[in-house]
């Protein structure tokens, strides 16, 4: 992974000092509330419903065991002994005190971490495939480019006050595991016939109020021009993006208004001035950066394959775990193991400090001391020898972390919702818990099913791209839920559509169960839920799930609840 040099460290250290000074001036009444807000946001601090929250950047989701131990320690010292992994591969501490944040930032800096630009109207933490570097279907490892983008965007002076937030994602594989097409700026990385690394550039994707799949505006961009081109995109957005209405300020609205072609021309005109200029990356830069992400010292001989097979036969739960939680690795004798943070009864993405420390130890023992955070809010040990799978599984089982549900209906992506978030229309965590509980016994049978839940239109829980999405809405100060089906991001990004009327909280799990029952009854052999939706049509699923409501018109909440 990338290791800071003295310059990187000096920048992060200076940032800690700067924020300590800003906090002191704020507490002394010398910076107003409004003027302090973006300063704290750009250091990851929100003030939520019950407490300030600190969001820490985990660049492209990659952590060392030492860093994870520090996160555990921070959770214990400054929070309530846990942290929450987010859908953008970051971690949040939900219960911090504002005056202590600069101390947390100093602790983070001591392990080469920071919270820079994890919030605010600026370029946010860069994300990518959690299987980068080990995926069997990978064209190019995107992490070296993602790190270059991280450095370029860090404290970028021109783009610190954009119209709105700006999220960048990289995908270097056949299957897009980074949901890149629902980002403000997405790069598809590939090699041309001559072996040169090039990029396809997509702009203006996103979820929230106006969900959009990002259209392509540039193909064949040479990697050395990546930063110049990004500068052109951002300057175009910074100058012409709407600032009169915060709901229309994301770049997707500008791309929509101009049309992708015209927007692309604007960018191209700007790029013409920048092409070959000072932001051009040096010819050896990719090689230099790639060296940080080299393969670990893999063992070449596999000895435990028979062990794996024997244990799978003997232990059906281990068998299910290998099937669901171990992804194919580019090396046959290795597997990428996902540790599900979605056992029943736990808020999706939460991990206690004790668990983080235990996982750090397992990473040292089984996976070269590295951990990845997936945007599904799980942790990944990406380089586990298949001969170690049984031992790792047993260790995880002892920790209560062996839930064999990756990619299943109980592996729900879920935002913090109304329990924490000051913007939420509705609670998310109890809804996700009810769905998990209802589907737990059938989840293995149902198979692959991505359920994604957001407590409001801002879509932190990615409900637009769930095979089944759940969206919390506010109706006359009451919590209601809208169901969407048909979204996906794997190979072709598709946005889900709302089916049926909004329903009260207690109706969510039964409604989703009717959707999955309909699927179980009608599926073809080997057909996953989302493919069945595409074959049978959303209307058929809607009719099955909402049959009881078909004849009713806008029931009042009271009547609905009485039912």
């Amino acid at each position: 992974m990338y290791i800071y040099n003295a310059i990187d460290q000096s920048i992060v250290d200076a940032r800690v000092k700067q924020f300590a000074d800003q906090t002191e001036r704020y507490l002394g009444g010398r910076i107003s509330e409004d003027e302090f807000k973006p300063l704290r946001l750009q250091n990851g601090v929100y003030v939520e419903r019950h407490s300030p929250l600190l969001r820490v950047a985990i660049p492209y989701g990659l952590l060392s065991s030492r860093q994870l131990r520090m996160l555990a320690q921070i959770g214990r010292t400054y929070d309530r002994g846990f942290g929450h992994f987010t859908t953008r591969q970051n971690i949040q501490f939900n219960w911090v005190k504002l005056e202590e944040v600069h101390k947390i930032l100093a602790d983070l800096a001591s392990v080469q971490m920071h919270a820079i630009q994890t919030s605010g109207s600026c370029i946010r933490n860069v994300t990518t495939d959690h299987l980068a570097g080990v995926a069997h279907d990978e064209r190019v490892d995107p992490r070296p480019l993602a790190e270059l983008m991280r450095q370029w965007s860090t404290l970028n002076p021109e783009f610190a006050f954009l119209p709105r937030k700006f999220k960048v994602a990289f995908n270097g594989a056949v299957e897009d595991r980074a949901a890149s097409e629902v980002h403000d700026l997405a790069f598809d990385v590939y090699r041309d016939e001559a072996g040169e690394v090039r990029l396809t550039v997509k702009v203006g994707g996103g979820q929230g109020r106006t969900p959009r799949v990002a259209p392509v505006i540039k193909t064949g961009l040479h990697w050395r021009d990546m930063l110049s081109y990004t500068e052109a995109v951002l300057r175009t957005y910074n100058r012409w993006g709407r600032r009169d209405n915060i709901y229309k300020a994301r770049i997707k609205i500008l791309v929509d208004a101009l049309g992708p072609e015209r927007f692309g021309e604007e960018v191209e005109q700007e790029f013409a001035h920048l092409h070959g200029g000072p932001a051009t990356l040096a010819a050896n830069e990719l090689e230099r950066m790639t060296a940080f992400f080299g393969a670990p010292p893999y063992q070449s001989v596999s000895s435990g394959d028979q062990d794996e097979a024997r244990h799978r036969l003997a232990d059906p739960r281990f068998n299910a775990w290998v099937k669901r939680n171990v992804a194919k690795h580019k090396r046959d004798n290795y597997g990428a193991v996902t540790i599900s943070l979605k056992p029943l009864g736990v808020a999706p993405g939460d991990a206690t400090s004790d668990q983080m420390e235990a996982i750090a130890d397992l990473a040292d023992r089984f996976s070269f001391g590295q951990i990845r955070v997936s945007h599904h809010q799980n942790l990944v040990l990406a380089d586990v020898a298949r001969s170690d799978l049984w031992a790792l599984y047993q260790a995880l089982e002892a920790l209560g972390l062996s839930e064999p549900n990756v990619g299943l209906a109980t592996d729900i992506i879920c935002c913090p919702g109304g329990d924490y978030c000051a913007l939420a229309n509705a609670k998310s965590i109890p809804v996700a818990a009810a769905v998990q509980e209802t589907l737990a016994s059938k989840a293995q049978d149902i198979g692959t099913l991505a359920i994604k839940m957001s407590g409001c239109i801002n879509a932190c829980g990615h409900h637009h791209v769930g095979h089944i999405g759940i969206l919390g809405v506010d109706k006359k100060d009451e919590e209601w839920y809208q169901i969407l089906i048909g979204g996906r991001t794997d190979t072709k990004t598709t946005l889900g559509q709302i089916v049926g009327k909004a329903i009260p909280r207690e109706a969510v799990a039964p409604t989703i169960e009717r959707l999955t029952d309909f699927y179980l009854k009608n599926r073809n052999n080997g057909e996953i839920f989302i493919d069945a939706v595409e074959r049978l049509g959303k209307a058929a699923f809607q009719a099955a799930a909402f049959q009881n409501d078909m004849s009713q018109t806008s029931p009042s909440p009271q009547i609905q609840e009485a039912n």
């Binding site: 507490l27 450095q151 370029w152 021109e158 006050f161 300057r235 990356l281 229309n425």
Partner: protein, 205 residues
Amino acid sequence: MSTLLKLFSPGDIRTLPLPEGAFRPAPAPNPFPNMDVINQGQGDVRSLIRPNVKQPEAPSVAAWEHGTLLTLPEWLARDGAPPDAAVGIVLMPTDDPMVLVGRLDGLAVIAVEFAKFNDGRGYSIATLLRSRLGFKGEIRAVGDVLIDQLFAMARCGMTGFALRGDQDVAAAKRSLESFPAVYQWAADERDFVLANKTDLERAAA
């Protein structure tokens, strides 16, 4: 009175008194933050969101130390002959600096309006003035010119900072040196980490 910080070169910062009208006056004093509200959360904030943000109509300053500031239309309406005395103009966030191509002669100061400190268009305007148009005079931030944005402003090629009336001059000077190094190219042409360098050049640097 307020102060103009002038950045001549890195580390060479001078101060100059500014007359009324050449800076935005101090707003009312801040109340001390209510730590109960902060550390115990602010509850449901949905009703506090104002979707429509008011856009600036007029510049927040009308003058510089040598006279009035012209607006961009006023400057462009002139016949194009170089003026007798040095002229200062002010650009609004919606102004396109590229219309100044061929019209920079005689301009001593181009003020960039920060009607609100968090309107980032001024950073791109200054960048274009400096790097695309090659303007050599003073690019001056006016309006909500606050300590905590000066470093970024200077990086985008701004060299004059008409501090808002309440800003502390010593802290402002310090903030221009907030970071010992920078990653990316910007209009100040400062050395940067991601420069197009070979390994040899890197090692020598």
